[in-house]
């Protein structure tokens, strides 16, 4: 194992002498501030909830876009105008809606 230069080692020893002792006790009200911070953190919506919302929204958007594309393709293939929703409505009425 290598070592520090003797002068550098001595500098570090000198630095130890120059360190002013500081109190180790928690300042007044510190624990109260920590617990208040904890409480506000727990009541605030977690970033995980937002992440989940974003993921769900992204999936929902993807599903809508894919459905729209399928509808567009089927309408184009059947020769009907894409603005004509009749066949789509009939499909929903017959198969999906009660």
């Amino acid at each position: 194992m290598n070592h520090l230069e003797p002068e550098l080692k001595r500098l570090m020893n000198w630095a130890r002498h120059g360190l002013a002792p500081k109190p180790d006790q928690a300042p007044l009200g510190f624990s109260r501030r920590v617990l208040a911070g904890l409480e506000s953190e727990q009541t605030a919506p977690s970033p995980l909830v937002f992440e989940r919302l974003v993921a769900i929204s992204a999936w929902a958007s993807t599903v809508v876009i894919v459905c729209g594309l399928i509808f567009f393709a089927s309408q184009t293939r059947s020769g009907e105008s894409v603005l004509n929703f009749t066949s789509a409505y009939q499909f929903l009425a017959k198969n999906i809606l009660p």
Partner: protein, 206 residues
């Protein structure tokens, strides 16, 4: 950046039942949580003072660490003393804060304060281990500047090994790093520090 000593010792007060305190904290007992903060504060603040980024508030950093401790408390298993577990959280949090700070620009002899220049001069002319008070203050600044040139991990290793005379085993417990990682990091950190110090003495810049 401070260069205080960081002491990590398991709770020696046998009258205090840490396990019971932790159990009550888990049950959202506020007085118990306050007691836990009061008991662990000296440990956390020593780690923070030893690894404080420039212009950061030690109290704010300590508060962030305690928030992390409370949030993760359910993950704590009593396989290690709570003090070691908290130390690792504190060390990792401080290292993350240090990594986020901008690198200090190159430092030249002309940038040294009078105390620092005098200390460097005294260091080369004197061989005493008991410095003049003014040299001791200059030494704190010089060491702090030198350590600032290292990565946060190297800085921590040098401080623990060279300034606090910690053993590799103690550092392993404190940081969670393996003994090999500590030895390799210490070797590289010493080499870098020796190089910087030699450059400072020779060319007047780091």
């Amino acid at each position: 950046m401070g260069i205080e000593c960081s002491v990590v010792t398991p709770s020696e007060d046998t009258a205090f039942d840490m396990a019971d305190c932790l159990e009550r904290v888990r049950r959202k007992d506020e007085p118990a949580a306050r007691v836990l903060v009061e008991r662990l504060y000296p440990l956390v603040i020593k780690v923070v003072r030893a690894n404080l980024p420039r212009r950061a508030s030690e109290e704010d950093l300590a508060q962030e660490i305690f928030l992390k401790v409370f949030v993760k408390l359910d993950q704590f298993r009593s396989a290690v003393p709570i003090e070691h577990w908290v130390s690792r959280i504190a060390v990792n949090h401080c290292l993350k804060a240090l990594r986020a700070q901008k690198a200090r620009p190159e430092w030249r002899m002309a940038d040294l304060s009078k105390e620092e220049a005098d200390t460097l001069e005294a260091l080369s002319t004197s061989s005493t281990d008991a410095p003049h008070p003014a040299d001791a203050v200059g030494a704190v600044e010089l060491v702090s500047r030198l350590l600032d040139m290292l990565s946060p991990e190297d800085r921590l290793i040098i401080r623990l090994l060279e300034m606090e005379d910690r053993s590799v085993e103690e550092i392993r417990r404190l940081t969670g790093w393996s003994a090999t990682v500590i030895r390799v990091r210490a070797f590289r950190a010493r080499r870098k520090l020796n190089k910087r110090f030699a450059k400072l003495k020779k060319e007047g810049k780091l």
